[in-house]
């Protein structure tokens, strides 16, 4: 197992941190405040988890006014993923869109 794998596993091994990452993947970009409301830990703890996730490349931050918005960077998980499984998911979702398009197209 490579260092990159070990680092990602270690980063995501903490259940609270993993829950924050999963929430960002599911619900899109959010502020620390919004994440804290849903987490079972304090805002400083959430901020700490976000900085660890950021260090691992799993989240990205963006300042907007006084707020910092965080978003997931699932591409950082690339080393862990079985690409055939992922491409299968890719094509299946695209073919669903193809069927929709064919229904809308003129003959």
């Amino acid at each position: 197992m490579s260092n990159a794998h070990t680092f990602l596993f270690r980063t995501l091994a903490d259940p609270t941190r993993r829950a924050i990452f999963e929430r960002l993947c599911r619900d899109g970009e959010q502020t620390v405040g919004a994440l804290t409301l849903r987490a079972k830990v304090s805002q400083p703890a959430v901020s700490k988890h976000l900085s660890v996730l950021k260090e691992a490349g799993l989240v990205k931050d963006r300042s907007h006014g006084r707020q910092t918005h965080y978003s997931a960077q699932p591409g950082a998980l690339a080393p862990l993923i079985d690409w055939t499984g992922q491409m299968m998911g890719f094509w299946q979702s695209r073919f669903d869109q193809l069927e929709d398009l064919l229904r809308r197209m003129d003959q």
């Binding site: 995501l12 993923i81 992922q86 998911g89 890719f90 094509w91 869109q97 193809l98 064919l102």
Partner: protein, 132 residues
């Protein structure tokens, strides 16, 4: 290691091959279900698919109108060939997509959230359990 892997998706569509061929080869239609591109159905033509997560470099390998279309699919270390085969059936068309040429251990940074994310999370959980 020269082992390759193949991803195959097959589906029955209640539409004639000619209509599906248009969806596979006309750029503005292709953009509606796959990605933006400068595709043209000419053997040897180089083109590129672009999406918010990156791009895919391609070259057309085979064009048999309403029957078969093949192109290379190279993106961030992933070097594959995608082939679409259309066969008319009593009810419409059988469409087969085959993507082959995956090498083991290849990494590619597709937007995982969009591509079977739930499925992936399940795998991640199992991997993490093994690590613990």
């Amino acid at each position: 290691m020269t082992e390759t892997k193949t991803v195959t998706v097959e589906l029955e569509l209640p539409f004639p091959p000619e209509k599906i061929w248009r969806a596979l080869t006309v750029p503005h239609l292709l953009a509606e279900w796959l990605m933006q591109s400068d595709f043209t159905a000419e053997t040897g033509h180089h083109f590129r698919f672009t999406a918010d997560w990156g791009s895919v470099d391609c070259q057309v390998l085979a064009v048999e109108p309403n029957k078969r279309l093949a192109y290379t699919w190279d993106a961030m270390g992933l070097s594959t060939v995608v082939t679409f085969t259309l066969s008319p059936t009593a009810r419409g068309t059988h469409l087969r997509m085959e993507q082959e040429g995956f090498k083991p251990g290849m990494a590619q940074a597709y937007g995982g959230a969009k591509l079977g994310w739930q499925n992936f999370l399940g795998k991640l959980e199992r991997l993490l359990e093994k690590q613990a």
